[in-house]
């Protein structure tokens, strides 16, 4: 049965046969056609790609709000025996479009020496890779469950440890009303220097 439109396989007509040889005007016209075709196609594709990337890069515009002092505990709630204890940090939190009022956002370890009104605050976030550091009662040290980074009760590294630096100490003050306030801040994980996460 005869095919109605002949054989269309690419091999039957070679483009080179047309442009090469004969008419330089035709060759130029074909070149222009190629340029305009690529230009139009490219232009038509730009808007979706640009709009997409524009929106995709939006998170880079977002910054964490400036760190502020948050009330975490009453001074009396921290026994003055030098041993750290875990306290939740409660703060208002915004997650993209959702606003959470007074929600637990993390934890700190607080300790104070006998008779002292000064409180030491250590972030419970491991400086190695950001896991939550446990306080091991049995061994009297801090240990991160993820990669076994270990720290003394002062927060110093116990070697060998994968953590590049000691536990992050947070600024801490005691208000007139006896409320312990901690400057709630996150630091970049995995590096030796203590750098605030933007």
């Amino acid at each position: 049965m005869a095919r109605p439109h002949g054989n269309n396989s690419a091999a039957s007509v070679r483009p080179d046969d047309r442009s090469r040889g004969a008419d330089p005007l035709a060759a130029r016209r074909e070149f222009m056609a190629k340029v305009v075709a690529v230009a139009c196609g490219g232009l038509a594709t730009i808007p979706p790609v640009v709009a997409g990337l524009w929106a995709f890069l939006d998170p880079l515009r977002r910054t964490r709000g400036a760190a502020s002092f948050l009330s975490v505990a009453d001074l009396a709630a921290i026994p003055d025996d030098g041993l750290p204890r875990q306290f939740p940090v409660i703060a208002d939190r915004v997650d993209a479009w959702t606003g959470f009022a007074a929600e637990p956002v993390g934890a700190v370890y607080l300790s104070r020496e006998q008779g002292s009104r000064e409180v030491r605050a250590l972030s419970a976030t491991c400086p190695h890779a950001g896991c939550f550091i446990d306080l091991e009662k049995a061994t009297q040290c801090f240990r991160c469950p993820c990669h076994n980074s270990s720290f003394t009760l002062d927060g110093n590294i116990v070697n060998p440890s994968p953590s590049p630096r000691a536990m992050d100490e947070l600024e801490c003050r005691v208000g007139g009303n006896g409320q312990v306030e901690v400057k709630w801040q996150k630091y970049r994980a995995g590096i030796a220097e203590k750098v605030v996460q933007g």
Binding site: R3, P4, H5, G6, N8, A10, S12, V13, R14, P15, R18, E30, A33, K34, V36, A37, V38, A39, C40, G41, L43, A44, T45, P47, P48, V49, V50, A51, G52, L53, W54, A55, F56, L57, D58, R61, V94, A96, W97, T98, G99, F100, A101
Partner: protein, 684 residues
């Protein structure tokens, strides 16, 4: 002989640069040149033509949807508490989100148009004939898939529009015999619409349907290449190459489509700029309605314009009940699709091709006609001259639309009766259209309000936007008032053009500005107190207050103007409303007057003035939130009207075992609304 071997045999050193050699390297290992060659150098019999661009343009449109869709996916969150919220975030807060969403939204509509053009071209050119029948069928499947993606995508923002349209669409699916109810339940992910409706529609929209579409598209394109382009007859020009001749035309068409879409998105911005207005980027591109609310009637519900014909078609079967819907939504469209699927076979018969073309044009004309009818029904109020119907409208109001009464009213003038009856039909249409237009306006106001609320510094509560909207006095107050208070009380600015008529019809006080200095001044005005805006249409018209205002307050010896000013100032202050600057200094004096037992305090309790409650409402905290909540909840309480309460229901109390008409919270919303207490965004 392999290429490297050929080059080696020729003995010539390669004169190619780095890129040329890299290309050779790649080609030797992948054979890409042959593939590209195969892709680009397709013969176009009779030369490139504009009528061939639709297929390529559709592929371009689909690729645009894939690109924009993936980036939208990176921001979208399908659940009943986050879908609207994340789309709001994309539209109003993500940089460029409005453009991304706008392109996706309008390209979807462009695809429907391009599909129609592609189909039309294929049918008119007879490109469905042997050996291309299978490809034609694949095309029909692709069309259904695209329409399916349009339908599922409409729901994803979880706004009122998408929600109600989906309720209708899925209920129609539910009337399919046997499998219908199960099918419906599977699609919506359970017996109720919610999280799983969204997760399933999203999986269909962004997963199943496009994946299936790609598979069919690959075969569609492969078969297209296998059979070659079906040329328009007769062929008069020499053949051309797909690249660059046809590609050039295709690319120009793609650019034109994209230009139209950008134009549609950016046109409002251009108009605003020319008018010297501020352009809010979030208002450009696709619309976002108010969040879906199953408890809120949505009279503006309509499908997207390309499904309007189906919507209108179903009206043809009004009165047929479920059979009508089954017939209109399933049988007829099914038959049309069957006829279309049979086109390649029908086309073999004599006149078969003509039948196919005529059928397709008839269907398109029908679709166009139904769409026009739908639009006409919805928008006729915009162009029908209402003034010309004034007499008919008046007669309709007089007779209540009763034909016998009309005949009597016109004294048996039969010609006139017939004319009026015809006008009544038009009037009915115009009223329905006006109701639709009002509903659209309300929907737009609700949508704008939701966006305003979402931008509050506290952001959207974890329970979602609907929670916030339902607790918003600005949008809920008027609805609750209209439903529960509006049958007696007016709420209209006395300076508004139609205020007088509205107030005259009411049977209780006009509560517009209740608590304000202006409202109080009117109450203490002898000319107004017994008028319809205050006690005129109530039992209190004959009460002590009216006679006090008319007799005592008009006596300048006991009540000089400055004293009345002082009372006005004190009461506005009591309500927590602004006290006008001219009388602001009189608040303290006014409080003394209100409390004094030879003045207002003779009847009214006011703080600790010692007057026993019961003879008149307690004015302590008058017009404030607590006071309003109290009187709405129970006006018969001794603190308010006690025994002399005139017809006002107690909205917050109920007999043991039954629910009060309004919850405390709803009463609070009405009170806040009356007081004008709601969130207002800072001026930008």
């Amino acid at each position: 002989m392999s290429r490297p071997a050929a080059r080696a045999a020729s003995g010539q050193p390669s004169r190619k640069g780095v890129f040329g050699r890299l290309a050779d390297f790649l080609d030797d290992r992948t054979g890409y040149r042959a593939v590209v060659h195969e892709a680009l150098y397709e013969r176009v019999p009779g030369g490139a033509r504009w009528r061939y661009v639709w297929g390529s343009t559709l592929v371009f449109a689909f690729m645009t949807q894939v690109i924009t869709g993936l980036f939208l996916w990176a921001n979208y969150s399908p659940s009943a508490q986050t879908a609207w919220e994340s789309v709001y975030y994309i539209q109003h807060e993500v940089a460029g989100g409005w453009l991304l969403r706008g392109i996706h939204h309008f390209m979807a509509q462009a695809m429907v148009v391009l599909l129609a053009l592609h189909l039309l071209q294929v049918v008119i050119d007879g490109a469905y004939r042997a050996p291309r029948e299978v490809n034609f069928w694949l095309g029909l499947v692709l069309m259904m898939l695209v329409l399916g993606m349009a339908l599922t995508g409409y729901l994803l923002p979880w706004d009122q529009k998408g929600y109600w349209a989906t309720i209708v669409a899925t209920n129609l699916a539910g009337i399919v015999p046997f499998a219908g109810p199960s099918l419906q339940q599977l699609v919506i992910g359970g017996p109720e619409y919610g999280h799983h409706t969204l997760t399933r529609f999203f999986a269909l929209h962004a997963g199943f349907l496009p994946a299936t579409l790609v598979m069919f598209l690959v075969v569609h394109l492969a078969l297209f290449r296998k059979h070659g382009l079906h040329a328009k007859r007769p062929i008069t020009k020499p053949d051309a190459m797909f690249w660059p001749d046809q590609v050039l035309k295709d690319a120009v068409a793609m650019l034109a489509v994209m230009a139209v879409i950008l134009g549609v998105i950016l046109m409002p911005a251009l108009r605003a700029m020319l008018a010297g207005e501020v352009v809010h980027l979030g208002h450009l591109g696709a619309e976002l309605g108010a969040p879906a609310d199953p408890s809120l009637p949505y009279a503006a519900a309509r499908p997207e314009w390309y499904f309007l014909f189906l919507f209108q078609f179903l009206k043809v079967f009004e009165g047929w009940g479920a059979t009508g819907e089954f017939f209109g939504a399933i049988v007829v469209p099914g038959l049309i699709m069957t006829v279309m699927a049979l086109m390649p076979i029908v086309g073999n018969w004599r006149l078969g091709h003509r039948f196919n073309v005529a059928f397709t044009l008839a269907i398109l004309a029908g679709v166009g006609l139904l769409t026009a009818m739908a639009l006409n029904e919805d928008y006729s109020a915009l162009w029908v001259n209402r003034a010309s119907l004034a007499e008919a409208e008046k007669l309709h109001d007089q007779t209540g639309g009763d034909a016998a009464k009309l005949v009597a009213a016109l004294g048996g003038d039969n010609a006139k009766v017939a004319a009026i009856k015809r006008q009544w039909k038009t009037l009915e249409k115009v009223r329905r259209s006006q109701a639709y237009l009002d509903a659209v306006k309300l929907a737009e106001a609700d949508a704008a309000r939701a966006v305003e609320l979402a931008g509050r510094p506290e952001r959207i509560p974890p329970a979602g936007m609907l929670e916030l909207v339902r607790h918003d006095p600005q949008s809920q107050g008027p609805r609750l008032f209209a439903q529960h208070c509006g049958s007696c009380h007016a709420h209209v600015d006395p300076l508004a053009p139609d205020a007088e008529a509205v107030i005259a019809k009411s049977s209780a006080a006009n509560l517009y500005g209740f608590g304000s200095a202006d409202w109080m001044r009117g109450l203490l005005d002898a000319n107004q107190v017994a008028g319809p805006a205050y006690f005129g249409n109530t039992a209190h018209k004959e009460g002590d207050m009216v006679s006090f205002v008319r007799n005592d307050l008009t006596d300048e010896a006991t009540w000089p103007k400055a004293d009345i000013d002082a009372v006005v100032a004190a009461m506005a202050a009591e309500a927590g409303r602004p006290v006008p600057a001219g009388i602001a200094g009189l608040v303290a004096k006014g409080r003394e007057l209100v409390a004094a037992d030879d003045r207002c305090g003779a009847c009214h309790t006011f703080h600790d003035n010692g007057t026993e409650p019961g003879s008149a409402p307690d004015l302590t905290g008058w017009g404030g939130r607590d006071w309003l909540v109290g009187i709405i909840a129970d006006p018969t309480h001794p603190r308010f009207y006690g025994d002399s309460n005139d017809r006002m229901p107690s909205f917050g109390t109920a007999a043991e075992g039954s629910l009060p008409p309004l919850t405390r919270e709803q009463i609070g919303l009405v009170a806040d609304w009356l007081r004008g207490e709601w969130y207002r965004p800072p001026e930008r």
